[in-house]
């Protein structure tokens, strides 16, 4: 918004403002698109984990290990991780913008949000794609019972 009171000459054509990417616009679109996708993904996740097969009773270490061994579920959970984390962070950014009046505190909170999200994204991705329920050479006392067949 310009509060400048100097006026252009009559019939001066409007100069299109080009100032890089409009993050507010893409943030707004991202919230809508990821929201719709998350509804589908989350209910799919709940249906498979809590309803199919033995329902809630089937969830244990072996069940999770089995799911994460399948590339389909790896990518499914990766999509959930990325979409939900950034969706949540963007929502927090919005709340910070709405309620924090001081620019310095706002910058600190934005930096904290950005860095924590980046760390969580890297950690989550690492777990999803490198998870090994039966690490080779591990103490047999500590690994899950189903590892006996593999090790």
């Amino acid at each position: 918004m310009t509060t400048d009171l100097t006026l252009d000459n009559p019939r001066t054509p409007h100069a299109r403002t080009k100032r890089g990417i409009n993050w507010e616009k893409w943030g707004w679109i991202y919230m809508r698109v990821s929201g719709v996708l998350l509804v589908v993904l989350i209910f799919g996740h709940l249906f498979v984990n809590l309803f199919l097969g033995d329902g809630v009773n089937q969830i244990d270490f072996a069940f999770v290990a089995g799911k994460l061994a399948d590339p389909f579920w790896q990518w499914y959970d990766f999509a959930l991780l990325v979409l939900a984390l950034i969706h949540g962070t963007n929502g927090m950014r919005t709340i910070v913008n709405d309620y924090v009046a001081k620019a310095s505190i706002r910058r600190i909170l934005h930096a904290a949000l950005l860095s924590s999200t980046a760390v969580l994204l890297v950690l989550g991705t690492l777990v999803l794609f490198t998870f090994d329920p039966c690490p080779a050479g591990a103490d047999p006392e500590l690994v899950a019972s189903f590892c006996e067949d593999i090790l």
């Binding site: 409007h14 403002t17 507010e24 919005t94």
Partner: protein, 246 residues
């Protein structure tokens, strides 16, 4: 049944306490609340209570009002925590068993008592170019169908009272945000079939501080004394922006 029930429909009289947030920049460092008891009738409005205070109790009370009939948009204020026009709010519609709290609208610099500096509000109004820009040169008048006129009918009702903009939580913390009223008045021309500068206005509002700041909290729609569906208008501008044309 011979004796007519004279009391039915009769004008009732009651005493109301109004608590007004006062501020005199020449004597006060901080605003403070001051209460007044006024004798009111059931036909009176909040504006009448303010008049009674100013004319009979404390002449230093300052507030804006021009037409006093809901057209000029001068007397928007926060009454019991909600933005309303003092001249359109009947006292009897409020809870008169409790005091009525009256303060200036929020988010704009307080000047005195119930008067705020409206310049930031009008600056963003001016920024959306709220005037018809038609390039065509018709022989007679510019023809418009009933449907074309109905498209933007709702947003023609704005009286620029600032009740919506000063009820918007985004505007309270981010004074750079255009605010609902400016977007409503952009909407009025963006969707006008006779106007040729819709792209310019969409471009102005497709700003970091433009329509994307809107969180659809509906405070503006609730505050509007003319019943404009403000949030809907803002959403229509967002949609037009995504489509790239009105």
């Amino acid at each position: 049944m011979a004796t007519a029930p004279a009391e039915v429909g009769a004008v009732q009289e009651f005493t109301v306490t109004v608590i007004i947030r006062r501020f005199d920049p020449e004597n006060d460092t901080e605003p403070y609340w001051q209460d007044f008891d006024v004798q009111m009738y059931s036909t009176d409005r909040v504006l009448d209570a303010l008049h009674k205070v100013k004319w009979e109790q404390d002449g230093t009370l300052s507030f804006r009002r021009s037409c006093a009939h809901g057209i000029c948009g001068s007397d928007a204020m926060r009454i019991n925590g909600r933005n309303r026009l003092a001249c359109k709010t009947l006292i009897k519609d409020l809870d008169i068993t409790k005091p009525i709290y009256i303060e200036a609208i929020k988010g704009l610099p307080l000047e005195k008592d119930l008067i705020v500096d409206m310049e930031p509000f009008f600056a963003s109004y001016r920024a959306v170019q709220p005037f018809l820009q038609a390039n065509s040169k018709p022989d007679k008048e510019r023809i418009q169908t009933i449907e074309q006129r109905a498209r933007f009918d709702d947003t023609t009702k704005c009286i620029l009272c600032a009740a919506c903009t000063s009820s918007c939580p985004v505007f309270w913390t981010d004074g750079q945000y255009f605010g609902p009223a400016a977007i409503v008045n952009a909407h009025r021309f963006i969707f006008d079939s006779r106007d040729d500068a819709a792209q310019v206005r969409l471009d102005i509002l497709n700003d970091k501080e433009g329509v994307w700041r809107c969180r659809t909290t509906f405070n503006c729609s609730e505050a509007c004394p003319r019943g404009i569906e403000v949030t809907k208008a803002i959403s229509e501008v967002k949609q037009a922006m995504l489509r790239g044309r009105p």
